[in-house]
Structures are given as structure tokens and as C-alpha cells.
Symmetry: C2
Subunit: 189 residues, 2 copies
């Protein structure tokens, strides 16, 4: 009944660490940050339990590192949007198409939601949760001012939640109409 000892793999600490982090990130996306345990990570990454404790001093640190990783991934997604932001007033279709694609990428959506919920629960992760919204707001603010930029950013947070709860996200047409309206909305004096 005892399993034959697994073939020992090559020594490669950095790759091993990456594998563990990737597995943890996957689990966070699929089942939420709360469901992340050493054993679940080990099974997903196909590494022994001991490895998951060797590279991180505690499960909290591991969770945090995985969330950090997801935040970085989202940063890259945002980088793609950046070039279209400049044209939001003249050609909003481009940025809307990009955002629409983001909302269809359920992996990205769930990652963003996991970050948000982690941020509302744990003050230490708040900054991480705010990052993408703040960055997007800054980018938009250069073009249309801070008030309108904030409105769009907040709306997109809502759209992300919407996508996480519905089978189909908001359509590009609806998204475009809303963003257009917010990008040109009259400012309060």
C-alpha cells in the first residue's frame, strides 16, 4: 500500500519556488484565497508537502506572495491598455475593445476580485488591491481630469464584479456608451 518513493527531481530552487507560487495563484483564482492550503498547493504543483514550507516561512507569506504575483500579472494587462488611453476622447472604441477583452478573461477577472476581497479583509493587502484602480485612474486623469477618471475607474471595478458574478460580462456596446458618457460628463463646480 505504501507508494513507491517518487523519483527525486533535479535541484532547481528558483523553478521550484516559481512552481509553488504559480500553483497557489491558480488556486486563488479558482477557489479564492481562503481555500489555499499547503496540501492543496503541493498537490497542484506536484511537489511534496515539505517543499511548500521550505520556501515560505508561513502560509500567510505564501498567500501574500501569490497575490503579489497576481497583482503583477494585472499590471501587465494594464500596460496593454495604456497605449489606447490617450485616444479615449477621439477613438474610445479601441480602449473599450481592450477592456471588453479583459472582462471576458475570467482568469483576470477572478484574480482582480481575489485581490479586492483580500484587500478589504487584510489591511496589509489594501495597497495591492488599490494598485490597478489607482494606476488606471492616473492614466485617465491626464486626458480627462481626475473626477471623470475616477468615475470610469470605479465603474470598471463594478464591471469586473459584474463579470465575476454573471456568465456573460457587459457587452462592448454598453461599455462604450457608458465610458463615453463618463469621459465627457459635466463636472460639478
Amino acid at each position: 500500500m505504501s507508494s513507491t518513493p517518487a523519483a527525486r527531481r533535479r535541484r532547481d530552487p528558483e523553478a521550484r519556488r516559481r512552481e509553488i507560487l504559480a500553483a497557489a495563484a491558480e488556486l486563488i483564482i479558482e477557489t479564492g484565497a481562503a481555500a489555499v492550503t499547503h496540501r492543496a498547493i503541493a498537490a497542484r504543483a506536484e511537489v511534496p508537502l515539505g517543499s511548500t514550507t521550505q520556501y515560505f516561512s508561513s502560509i500567510d507569506e505564501l498567500r501574500e506572495a501569490a497575490l503579489q504575483q497576481l497583482a503583477t500579472e494585472i499590471d501587465h494587462e494594464l500596460e496593454k491598455v495604456k497605449s489606447y488611453v490617450a485616444d479615449i476622447e477621439t477613438a474610445p472604441e479601441r480602449i473599450v475593445a481592450e477592456l471588453s477583452e479583459f472582462l471576458c478573461d475570467s482568469r483576470a477577472v477572478q484574480a482582480e476580485i481575489a485581490l479586492t476581497t483580500a484587500g478589504t479583509t487584510d489591511p496589509r493587502l489594501r495597497e495591492l488591491a488599490l494598485r490597478w484602480g489607482d494606476r488606471l485612474t492616473d492614466m485617465l486623469a491626464e486626458q480627462i481630469g481626475r473626477t471623470r477618471a475616477t468615475a470610469i475607474s470605479v465603474y470598471l471595478d463594478g464591471a469586473t464584479i459584474h463579470a465575476g458574478l454573471h456568465d456573460t460580462p457587459l457587452g462592448a456596446v454598453e461599455l462604450a456608451a457608458t465610458i463615453r458618457a463618463l469621459a465627457t460628463m459635466p463636472l460639478p463646480e
Copy 2:
């Protein structure tokens, strides 16, 4: 060292059940649904551990009942808004004031966020998480049509997240400008 046996309280199953549910709801608001354990609930409600298992067949059922309770509370909050919805076009200040107050009520905000995150993780709770948004959308749709109503509802979801992550929520002025813009936005053909 053994504690003196606690004075046995009056028999009142319904009140006991309510106390447990209320304690669970508090904990969900304060620390998130994941941190809810039998022992934490028992301590908060000041009832023995055994009581928390007596009224609910499992911890999942207890959590779900507590979330249901929170959803009902939010329903009542929403009921207060209802009367102002009719005037959104003529006098949006009233409903904005009401919504602004909601965003300042961190208890309500955290409750709504807890429901949302529970809904994205557990499909069985999705309907619960969607309830307030759907109801608000329906109410608004009668006045301004479904597209604009959805846009406002999605925006307010974002505003709730915003409030949960920031020390001070969006201001009433900013909120008013945005809602006004969305309530009158040009519709796509």
C-alpha cells in the same frame, strides 16, 4: 483551574438561534466569511460551543444562513432608497444623499462586499450576491430604461468596493455628477 459552570440560561430556542446568527453576521462583516468558525461564533454570542452546532447541521449551512440574513438587511436598506428612485430625473439629490449615506455605513458596505465575494466563490450563493444589484436595476429601469439603470447599478457596485478599500468613500458631489451623467447618457442604437 476548571471554570465554574456557567449559569444555565432560560430555554428560548428562537432567541438562541437569532443570537448565533447575529454573531456570525457580525464576524462576517468584521473579518470576512472565511474567518467564521464555530468557536469564534460561540465566543461572540456568549453561548457554549455546543449551541452553535445544535441549530445548524454544518458550518456551511450556518455561514449561508448568516449571509442570507445580511442580504435581508440590505434589502431593507434598499427599501429606503426605493421611494427616491422615482425622482431620480427631477431631483437626483435625494437618492444621492441616501446612497452616500449607505457608502458611509461601513457595516453595510462590508456586508455587501462579503456577499459579493461569497457569490464569486460559491455558485450556490451567486443569486444572493446578485439580489441587491438586480433589484436596484429593476427599480431604476422603470424610470430611465435598462441600459442606464444597469450602468448606474454597476457603478454603485464599484463605489461600494471603493468605500471598502478607502478610508473615506466617494463624496456626494462626485456621486451626484456621475449618476446624473449615467441617468441621462445617450443610448447606443
